[in-house]
C-alpha cells in the first residue's frame, strides 16, 4: 500500500507495517518537549501519575517564553522546571545564556533528526516537519503522560499535498509561501490534517524557508507539516545530528486528501492583516499603513538567514523616528554569528533594540508589548486580537524583508520602496 510521510512515520513508531488515515494508534515517542509556560503544569500532572520519567535523554525542557524571568511569578515557573530537570537528570535542559528559542535550538543542536516522532507542549512544535520529523503540539496533560510513558495516541491524519512549482523570486521567502498558503486554505483549512510538501520547487527552499513554512502550519490548523528528506535536509543534519536516524519519503502513489498547487514564480510579498493569519493581502495593495513597532525574530523568523535579510536592508540606514525596531536572534549561536558578520553593528547603528533569545513579544509576554492603538509589523506567527499587548493593538505578520523595510519607512513597505525613496 503506498503511504504518505505522515503514515510512514506513525506506522514505524506504532510497530506496524502500515497505517491509514483515520486509524487510532499508540506510538513510541523519540522526544517530549515543553517550555517554561507549559512545563510546570505538565510536571504537576506528571507527579499525579506516580511513575519515573520514561527516558531522561528524550526529554527537552526549554525556558524561553518569559525568560530571563520577566516577573516573580515567571521566575517561579522557571524554578519549578529547573528543579525538576536537576532532580531527574534531564539531558536537554538549558540555562539562560545557553538556551535559545525552543524551535530554533532543538534543530540547531542536532536534537531533532529526520524520521523522529515528537510531541511538544507548544503549538509550533510542527516546525520540525522541515527536517522530515513528525512533530506536533499537545497540551499539558498529553505532555505529562508522554513524560511518564514515552507514548502518545494519535489519529493518523489525512495529508494535503502542497505541490510547489516554478522559480522562487529573490524577494520571496518561506514566510510569503506559508502566508499565501494559509490565506488560500484558511485558518482551519488543514484542521486534523497534515501538510506534505512535494514538487520540483522544494529543492530551491533553504532549511530556513522550510522551518518557517512548517512552523506556521498550525496557523492553518495542521497537525504536522512534512518536507521530504533531500539534499538540503541532508546537508543541514550532517554537521548537527550525531545519532543514526531513518528518513521517510512519500510513496509515488501516496493517497492525499487534496492537492494545493503553488507556483512560486507567481508569488508576491504578502502581509497577514489583523486579526487572523489567513487575512492575507499583497503588500502592494495596502496603501499607507503607519506603524509604531517592528519585531524581527521568533521561532518563525529568528534564524541567521532572517537576520541577514534584515541587515541587508538596514545597512547604512536608520529606523524611522516613530518606530521601535526590536531584533531577537533565536539562539546564542545565531547571535554570535550575527556579531561576527557585523550585522549587530548594523542593527545598533540603525537604531534597533537587540535582545537575547526569547519568545518575549511574540505572545505578548515582554520585551515589546503594544499600547492601545499601536501597530506592529512582526515576523512572528500570530496576529490574534491582543496577541502582542493591548486588546486594541494590531499585529501585521510579514517576512524579514517587509519588516526591515517597514522599520525604515515607518509604514508597511517593501525593500524596493526603501530604495525608491532614496533615488
Amino acid at each position: 500500500m503506498p503511504l504518505t510521510i505522515a503514515e510512514k512515520i506513525l506506522a514505524h513508531h506504532a510497530g506496524l507495517e502500515a497505517v491509514e488515515a483515520g486509524q487510532l494508534v499508540i506510538c513510541d515517542l523519540d522526544l517530549v518537549m515543553a517550555n517554561d509556560v507549559t512545563g510546570p503544569p505538565a510536571i504537576k500532572e506528571f507527579e499525579k501519575i506516580g511513575r519515573p520519567v520514561f527516558n531522561a535523554e528524550k526529554i527537552a525542557l526549554i525556558p524561553d517564553h518569559f525568560q530571563p524571568a520577566k516577573d516573580i511569578k515567571s521566575a517561579d515557573l522557571a524554578q519549578i522546571m529547573r528543579s525538576f530537570a536537576r532532580k531527574n537528570n534531564i539531558t536537554h535542559y538549558y540555562e539562560q545564556g545557553r538556551v535559545g528559542i525552543e524551535h530554533v535550538i532543538l534543530p540547531e543542536f542536532g536534537i531533532v533528526a529526520p524520521g523522529m516522532l515528537i510531541i511538544g507542549a507548544d503549538s509550533h512544535t510542527c516546525t520540525y516537519g522541515a527536517l522530515n520529523a513528525f512533530a506536533t503540539g499537545v497540551g499539558t496533560t498529553d505532555l505529562a503522560v508522554g513524560l511518564a510513558t514515552g507514548k502518545a495516541w494519535f489519529k493518523v491524519p489525512e495529508s494535503i499535498n502542497v505541490h510547489l512549482t516554478g522559480k522562487k523570486p529573490k524577494n520571496i521567502c518561506g514566510k510569503d509561501i506559508i502566508l499565501t498558503l494559509i490565506g488560500n486554505i484558511g485558518v482551519d483549512g488543514a484542521l486534523y490534517k497534515a501538510l506534505e510538501f512535494t514538487g520540483e520547487a522544494v529543492a530551491q527552499l533553504s532549511m530556513t524557508d522550510r522551518l518557517t513554512i512548517s512552523n506556521m502550519a498550525i496557523e492553518a490548523g495542521a497537525k504536522a507539516a512534512l518536507f521530504p528528506f533531500d539534499k538540503v535536509a541532508q546537508l543541514y543534519v550532517a554537521r548537527r545530528v550525531k545519532k543514526p536516524f531513518e528518513h521517510f519519503n512519500p510513496d509515488k502513489d501516496a493517497n492525499y486528501c487534496s492537492t494545493v498547487e503553488i507556483n512560486l514564480s507567481e508569488l508576491k510579498p504578502v502581509v497577514a492583516l489583523p486579526h487572523l493569519p489567513d487575512n492575507v493581502k499583497p503588500v502592494d495593495q495596502l496603501g499607507d499603513i503607519k506603524i509604531n513597532q517592528v519585531v524581527i525574530g521568533s521561532c518563525t523568523n529568528g534564524r541567521l538567514e532572517d537576520l541577514g535579510i534584515a541587515a541587508g536592508i538596514l545597512r547604512g540606514r536608520k529606523v524611522h523616528d516613530d518606530v521601535r525596531c526590536i531584533i531577537i536572534p533565536g539562539s546564542q549561536e545565531i547571535y554570535k554569528e550575527a556579531i561576527r558578520c557585523h550585522w549587530i553593528d548594523i542593527f545598533i547603528d540603525a537604531g534597533c533594540v537587540v535582545s537575547c533569545p526569547t519568545c518575549g513579544p511574540c505572545l505578548g509576554g515582554y520585551m515589546g508589548i503594544l499600547s492601545a492603538g499601536e501597530r506592529c509589523v512582526s515576523t512572528t506567527n500570530r496576529n490574534f486580537r491582543g496577541r502582542m499587548g493591548h486588546v486594541d493593538s494590531e499585529v501585521y505578520l510579514a517576512s524579514p524583508f517587509i519588516a526591515a523595510a517597514s522599520a525604515v519607512l515607518g509604514k508597511i513597505a517593501t525593500p524596493e520602496e526603501v530604495i525608491g525613496y532614496e533615488n
Binding site: L24, T38, V145, L191
Partner: protein
C-alpha cells in the same frame, strides 16, 4: 453526565489568546485563570458566568496556542461543557484530557443563540435546545478516546491502567 444551562454564544475562530491572554500565563492556578477567562473578547463573561452555563462557539474553536490553560480557565469558570461547529485539534485533545466534554455539531450550531437554555446528555451526545425545541446529536468520539472521556480525563485513564 447531564447538563442544563444558559448559553454564552461566540463566533468562529475563538483563539486561545482571547480565552486566556498570555499576560496571565505566569500562573497555572485554575481559579486565577478563571478570573481572566475570555477577557479580550468579552469583558462581561468572568464576572457574570454561573456554574452550569454552557459555552457555544462556531468553527475552529480554540485555535492557536497549545496552552491547556485555555480549557482549564473555561472549566474553572464553572462551564461544564462546550459546543462548537468544530474544534481546533490541540484544544480538542486538551478538553478530552481534562475531562471537559466538547461536543462537535457542525452547522447545526447556527440554531443556538445567546441565552438559550440547553439540556445536554454527554453520554449520548444529545443536545436539546429547551428555548427553541431543536434537538442535535454531537459527533461521537472515536474508539478509546471515548474511554478517556468516560474516565474523566487522560490522567485518570492512565492511572486506572497501571
Amino acid at each position: 453526565m447531564k447538563i442544563e444551562g444558559k448559553v454564552w454564544r461566540y463566533g468562529d475562530n475563538v483563539d486561545t489568546d482571547v480565552i486566556i491572554p498570555a499576560r496571565y500565563l505566569n500562573t497555572f492556578d485554575p481559579a486565577e485563570l478563571a478570573k481572566h477567562c475570555m477577557v479580550d473578547i468579552d469583558q462581561t463573561f468572568a464576572a457574570n458566568v454561573k456554574a452550569g452555563d454552557i459555552m457555544v462557539g462556531g468553527k475552529n474553536f480554540g485555535c492557536g496556542s497549545s496552552r491547556e490553560h485555555a480549557p482549564i480557565a473555561i472549566k474553572a469558570s464553572g462551564v461544564p461543557g462546550i459546543i462548537a461547529a468544530s474544534f481546533a485539534r490541540i484544544f480538542y485533545r486538551n478538553g478530552i484530557n481534562i475531562g471537559l466534554p466538547l461536543l462537535e455539531i457542525g452547522d447545526a450550531v447556527e440554531k443556538i443563540s445567546a441565552n438559550d437554555v440547553l439540556k445536554i446528555d454527554t453520554d449520548t451526545g444529545t443536545i436539546e435546545n429547551l428555548t427553541t425545541g431543536d434537538i442535535f446529536h454531537a459527533h461521537p468520539l472515536p474508539g478509546f478516546v471515548q474511554e478517556i472521556a468516560n474516565a474523566g480525563g487522560l490522567i485518570n485513564y492512565i492511572k486506572a491502567k497501571n
